[in-house]
């Protein structure tokens, strides 16, 4: 879906048999057709407007009120909520954490995803095939996808125990002290400075499987003869990856990057389940999504929560636009 249309097939699609334009726009048949189309288009557009556009507009309006979420009416207070947000240290922490997630989670996930996918699909060498996965790749393919099958709530609860102290059954610390690395054990969820990195790790772990599958699909559609040619020219695996695989799946990487950016701006479920509604010790693991939830449902400040939501909306949109522009690259057409 993401690779550009093979040039060979495209013209056949585009070149429609040229029919003489005998009918005019005023033709009753044509008007009937418009009416027909409009009747069919209107309901979905209406549903879209009601359930997608109007909530956005309402949220922007609510962000300028003092609504508690409990009353039938609300008072308009202009930009007070935005001023409050500007002065709120906790929102800064949340924003900083979202930016950390935004930078590290996509980079780690995509790098790992590309590495694993190329190992599964083109990394191996076998006697009668120039391009193949490493030994046992069909098993790995399934294993990588496991986290994707788990609900995010289960992932959160699981990792709470992975990072728990040793006496409470923490897996990492128990493992570290069993192999004699006691000096490396930490109270991962008890120290403010580790919290967001724990979240980075867990998010990467849970997302990588999906991107392995996505990139695998893209790599499967790269013609084998290109690899064979590269091999004949004596390209190493790394060169093959850099010069052949990566350019040919770049569109998919770009889509993945945008998805990842959106997911990283969220992070609500993981943080809320692993660290709690206050964002963990000292609120150091807070993200904007959790802050919205907390303000709306724990503090009954729907107006303020909506203001944070609007901030998040604009950040997400800006980031997506920037990513799309920066990552735009000359498309490689497959012959």
């Amino acid at each position: 879906m993401t690779l550009s249309t093979p040039a060979g097939r495209a013209p056949a699609k585009r070149a429609r048999p040229h029919r003489p334009q005998t009918r005019r726009a005023s033709d009753p048949m044509r008007r009937g057709k418009y009416l027909f189309i409009v009747t069919f288009l209107l309901p979905p557009v209406a549903v879209y407007a009601i359930y997608m556009l109007s909530p956005y507009l309402q949220a922007i309006y609510i962000s300028m009120t003092d609504w508690s979420g409990l009353t039938a009416t609300q008072n308009f207070i202009g930009f007070d909520n935005y001023v409050r947000m500007w002065n709120d240290d906790q929102i800064r922490t949340a924003l900083r954490n979202n930016l950390i997630l935004l930078v590290f989670v996509p980079v780690l996930t995509l790098a790992l995803g590309l590495f694993f996918a190329s190992m599964l699909n083109v990394g191996g060498r076998r006697r009668n095939a120039a391009v193949a996965g490493v030994r046992g790749s069909s098993i790995y393919r399934v294993v990588y996808f496991f986290p994707q099958v788990l609900s995010i709530a289960i992932v959160g609860v699981l990792f709470k125990y992975v990072f728990a102290p040793e006496s409470a059954g923490g897996i990492i610390n128990t493992f570290l002290s069993k192999i004699g690395l006691e000096s490396l054990t930490r109270l991962w969820l008890g120290e403010p400075r580790y919290l967001i990195w724990v979240v980075v790790l867990v998010m990467t772990w849970s997302f990588v499987g999906f991107y392995v599958v996505l990139f695998s699909a893209a790599m499967q559609s790269v013609p084998r003869d290109i690899y064979e040619a590269a091999l004949l020219d004596g390209a190493s695996r790394f060169t093959t990856f850099r010069k052949v695989t990566l350019p040919l799946v770049w569109d998919t990487v770009q889509v993945g990057w945008v998805y990842m950016a959106i997911q990283a701006m969220d992070g609500f479920a993981i943080v809320h389940i692993m660290l709690g509604v206050n964002g963990g010790v000292e609120g150091a693991g807070d993200v904007l999504g959790v802050a919205i939830y907390r303000e709306a449902f724990a503090s009954s400040r729907f107006g303020y929560a909506a203001a944070i939501g609007v901030l998040m909306l604009f950040l997400t949109m800006t980031i997506v636009v920037i990513f799309m522009r920066v990552l735009r690259r000359e498309r490689v057409e497959l012959g």
């Binding site: 109007s54 309402q58 409990l70 039938a72 009416t73 006496s167 010790v281 724990a298 503090s299």
Partner: protein, 493 residues
């Protein structure tokens, strides 16, 4: 009220949020796109019945009589919402509703139980269509202060002045333990009925203490001696609620400080006075708890633990002292049941110094578990009548028997055989305390001041990340934030 984390959550079997959305969607489609647009508008509702207070249903106000002191309509249904958490909801269906139904056979009780009270009811409040009675508790608890500030909670004065269920010569007000009405009031008007009664203190592993001949400490010096002994045995002297709720340690902290300097320091804290947290007695109590950490008397790794894990380790004999309220016996019932020899008991927090103002028996005890009647309910009088039935002696005794918790009803546990040794010890301590019952209200008035505000500061103190001076500074910052925030509805006492 003590903490939303203190009860086990039971998974709801009905996907109510989903059905709600489905209904909303179906309703929207049936009304046609135009009206659906308005119906789906959170902000477009206007206030068709926004100022309703239940009396605008067109019915004439029912007669108030000796038999019907609140004047409830005799054949209109009443909708009851119970939080289905640590207490379950059988106390409502098997105890309170039969009592109510006996007197009002024609009033149909629509009983609902929910785990996420706010999730189910927030939209109904916004639509001015709340039920008649709400048990506002659990993780999904709605902000009571905000509900009251928005005028959504019924004034309970009529209920408190009405004759009580059992004895018409005693008003309902006098059936409640001292402090209960105050706790549920804002600006002097009673809004919330806090029905349970919780005793706070330091809970200890009685089995271990008896086996090793460790005395129950009454002063801090004795506490340190006992702790040294316990530590020598390779057991952790103290545990607290870890990363989840270090604020539990505020309770011994403030209790010890109050015993030292008197209850006025609590008034200063509740009134958000400047310097309240910097009082010498509070510093001394904070130093004592900080010092426990410096001496390594907290269970290793507890600062990174979930509260149930920490309490579970305590109940399994890994630590001796644990701050909590009288719900802990219920909460850790599973861990306690593992070892038939394990016995827990409660002690009042020790005295920091011999020249303390209040005796060592002084306890923090307070009503909890909030119930209220929405002002815009269809049948608010019946909701109040249901409360009157709860505040009967049979209602209170039935509650105590069913859920093993004391109630705020005077004489409500008399004649009840408590089969819980922990709760019995709490009740004994309560009797020993006599008049010396203390409480503070800032967590009730400003929930987010205690959590995350003071909670995070105390967590840092216990971890040793800050010392007492920095802790005071951070608590003062939190108090200042609330003092200076105009959007916070201030209370004072």
């Amino acid at each position: 009220m003590a903490s939303s984390t203190n009860r086990k959550l039971i998974t709801s079997t009905e996907p109510s949020r989903r059905t709600f959305l489905q209904r909303l969607a179906v309703g929207g489609m049936a009304l046609g796109p135009g009206s659906a647009f308005l119906a789906s508008c959170a902000t477009g509702g206007g206030d068709d019945n926004g100022d309703g207070n239940g009396d605008d249903s067109g019915d004439p106000p029912p007669e108030v009589s000796d038999d019907n002191p609140l004047g409830i309509p005799e054949n209109e249904p009443v909708e009851i919402y119970i939080f289905d958490g640590g207490f379950g909801d059988t106390y409502a269906t098997d105890v309170h509703q039969p009592i109510f139904g006996e007197r009002w056979p024609d009033v149909e009780i629509n009983h609902r139980a929910a785990v996420d009270i706010g999730g189910e009811l927030q939209a109904r409040f916004a639509a001015s269509d709340p039920p008649d009675f709400v048990n506002n508790s659990g993780d999904g608890q709605m902000d009571t202060g905000q509900l009251i500030a928005d005028g959504l909670v019924q004034d309970l004065t009529d209920l408190l002045d009405a004759p009580s269920w059992d004895d018409p010569s005693v008003p309902v007000r006098d059936m409640l333990l001292p402090g209960t009405v105050e706790l549920g009031s804002r600006d002097g008007i009673p809004y919330v009925l806090n029905y349970t009664f919780t005793v706070y203190g330091t809970w200890y592993n009685k089995t271990l203490m008896d086996e090793n001949g460790w005395p129950v400490p009454t002063t801090w010096d004795e506490m340190l001696d006992v702790c040294a002994d316990i530590a020598d045995h390779g057991i952790a002297p103290w545990v607290y609620q870890g990363v989840t709720a270090p604020r539990y340690m505020n309770w011994p902290l403030l209790c010890m400080a109050t015993k030292l300097a008197g209850p006025d320091i609590l008034v200063a804290i509740d009134n958000l006075e400047e310097g309240a947290w910097g009082h010498e007695a509070i510093r001394e109590a904070a130093h004592a708890l900080w010092d426990l950490g410096q001496r390594g008397y907290y269970l290793e790794g507890v600062e990174g633990m979930e509260f149930r894990d920490a309490q579970g380790l305590w109940a399994r004999g890994e630590a001796v002292f644990c701050p909590s309220g009288s719900w802990i016996e219920n909460e850790e019932a599973d861990a306690i049941a593992e070892d038939p020899t394990f016995e827990l008991a409660m002690m009042p927090d020790p005295l920091l110094s011999t020249d303390a103002v209040l005796p060592v028996e002084t306890l923090r005890a307070t009503a909890g578990e909030p119930y209220f009647v929405p002002a815009q309910a269809n049948n608010p009088r019946a909701g109040m009548e249901y409360m009157r039935a709860m505040i009967s002696l049979d209602g209170a005794r039935g509650f105590t028997e069913t859920v093993t918790s004391l109630t705020s009803v005077v004489g409500g546990s008399e004649g009840v055989e408590l089969e819980a040794p922990g709760l019995s010890s709490a009740q004994a301590a309560l009797e020993a305390a006599g008049e010396n019952i203390i409480n503070w209200l800032y967590p009730t008035w400003y929930p987010t001041m205690e959590n995350p505000g003071i909670d995070q500061a105390t967590g840092a103190l216990l971890r040793g990340a800050v010392d007492v001076d920095e802790w005071v500074e951070r608590c003062e910052d939190v108090a200042r934030e609330f003092r200076e925030d105009d959007s916070v509805n201030k209370q004072s006492r």
